[in-house]
């Protein structure tokens, strides 16, 4: 029984971070129609930036975010402005190819600088545990969960009740009408992409403690993010967070109840099952 609670708790903690990763992708898809296949490699990039900052200045990942957030946000803005924007809107497959190319560039760039060995970025919380009865929780997971939900709520409030948030939703619902309101659609797209990449800096720091990293991990994160976004119905905020939890929990259940390698397939199996019965995603609304 405690095993079940253990897996469930771990799933929720990881899943909330997956949800956060996917919110960025969903937002970008919502306003520009771009599916970014380099999403996971941007997470890698943020993680290796944390590693570099630790090696150079012994910074804890939780401190490094102060540097990685602005840097990743700026990188996101530049990538969208100069690489994606010229193609967005009329050539979906070319945009996909471009982001795949970007994925390879990032992956090999990281490989060149850091080498292929798995690495670890130490953190003060890495070995701290919280014991609740039979269930042992890692402090890093609890922090990840709390921060991920706090950020999701913050994003939600921003989208609901600020002019910037409303302009993002307006572009998503009808870009032509948004332009007629005096909204600079191109600028909203750049800023949303930058926001989506900036969020990854936070997610990277949340995932880092206790997790070995390697340059080739990006695709794995991209795939997980895609699963979550599709489960969530692409642009549905609550659906995406829910999708994150589903994938996180099935991953945790898989590794606890099924053998380690086979267990990794569980999230995909669950995904296929859900998609068979609910192709529109988890949420109830059709749009």
């Amino acid at each position: 029984m405690s095993e079940l609670w253990q897996a469930l708790a771990q799933g929720v903690f990881i899943g909330s971070t997956y949800g956060l990763l996917a919110l960025g992708m969903g937002l970008v898809y919502g306003v520009s129609g771009v599916v970014n296949f380099a999403h996971g490699d941007f997470i890698s990039l943020a993680m290796f930036m944390c590693l570099a900052l630790f090696s150079a200045f012994s910074l804890d990942p939780y401190v490094s975010v102060l540097i990685t957030i602005p840097v990743m946000t700026a990188i996101g803005a530049l990538v969208y402005r100069f690489l994606l924007r010229p193609m967005v809107g009329y050539k979906f497959l070319m945009v996909v190819q471009l982001t795949l190319g970007l994925s390879l560039v990032l992956q090999n760039g990281i490989l060149m600088i850091f080498g292929g060995q798995p690495a670890r970025t130490p953190s003060i919380v890495e070995s701290k545990l919280i014991i609740l009865g039979d269930v042992v929780l890692r402090l890093a997971h609890v922090i990840a969960c709390a921060v991920a939900f706090a950020m999701a709520i913050g994003l939600y409030v921003m989208l609901r009740s600020t002019d910037f948030g409303r302009s993002i939703r307006a572009v998503h619902q009808n870009a032509h009408a948004a332009a007629l309101m005096g909204i600079d659609v191109g600028r909203v797209q750049v800023m949303t992409f930058a926001l989506g990449i900036g969020i990854l800096a936070v997610a990277a720091a949340l995932l880092l403690p206790g997790t070995p990293i390697q340059p080739t991990q990006g695709l794995q994160y991209t795939v997980i993010t895609l699963l979550v976004v599709v489960l969530g119905g692409m642009t549905n905020f609550v659906g995406i967070m829910l999708g994150g939890l589903v994938i996180g929990i099935s991953e945790a259940m898989g590794t606890v109840y099924v053998s380690d390698t086979l267990g990794r397939l569980v999230p995909y199996a669950i995904f296929v099952l859900i998609m068979l019965f609910r192709p529109q995603g988890l949420t109830w609304r059709a749009s």
Partner: protein, 234 residues
């Protein structure tokens, strides 16, 4: 106030509008008539900066705005209420109105302007927190006009506001147009509905396959045989 000279515009290098010249004076309601596909929406989108002109000039308040972006034109007060209303369906009536006043010039004035708009459309007041997508067609048209007014429009361009509405709502919307005219607003009324527009506009232009076939005072346009021809010719 707004002047168009020799405008040529279209899509992907193919001109739809050929040599359009027209004028809107301050406080006037000008009708822009034409059958389906005559190019009315293309013209209004050129005025909004959505369609880029291939030739010609657009002058607003003595300033050449031919190359201005849609955002800059909204900032100047050139506001379009688009064909098919295009309200933001998943946002509440209130949020739609707030977005109408998104531009820098209108933003600080939103609370006051919101009151005015809700006084003009009491129906919207009852539905403030309802998603715009759940409104009836007539209510969506009220919202689209209200949203345009939130931008502190100096020229309001209405693209086929009567499209798809019941006769009762059409009457109501044109009553609103008259009221706005009395308040001194400059308007461009784009319509297919000939007789109705002739009754509510002081001057009219009739667009036929991308060029202006007839223009003049409403009475003159009404009695010009070329007006009927322009409609039948398509």
């Amino acid at each position: 106030m707004l002047e168009v000279e020799g405008l040529v515009a279209g899509y992907a290098g193919t001109p739809i509008l050929r040599d359009i010249s027209l004028r809107l004076d301050r406080g006037e309601t000008v009708g822009l008539l034409g059958a389906n596909n005559a190019g009315k929406t293309t013209l209004i989108n050129s005025l909004s900066g959505i369609v880029t002109p291939m030739a010609g000039r657009i002058i607003f308040d003595g300033r050449d705005v031919t190359r201005a972006t849609p955002m800059q034109r909204v900032e100047m007060g050139i506001i379009q209420v688009p064909e098919g209303r295009l309200v933001f369906p998943e946002m509440s009536v209130r949020e739609n109105l707030l977005l109408g006043g998104f531009c820098d010039r209108a933003r600080p004035l939103r609370p006051r302007q919101m009151e005015k708009v809700l006084a003009l459309f009491p129906r919207l007041k009852e539905r403030l927190s309802q998603p715009a997508g759940t409104l009836s067609g007539g209510e969506q048209q009220m919202l689209a006009i209200g949203r345009g007014l939130m931008a502190e429009a100096r020229v309001l361009m209405l693209d086929e506001p009567s499209l798809g509405l019941s006769p009762l709502f059409v009457q109501y919307i044109f009553g609103i147009v008259d009221q706005l005219h009395k308040d001194g607003l400059t308007m461009l009324l784009v319509e297919q509905n000939l007789n109705l527009t002739l009754r509510h506009a002081q001057r009219c232009y009739v667009l036929e396959r991308g060029h202006i076939a007839v223009e003049g005072a409403a009475e003159v346009v009404k009695n010009d045989p070329r007006t009927r021809q322009a409609y039948l010719g398509l």
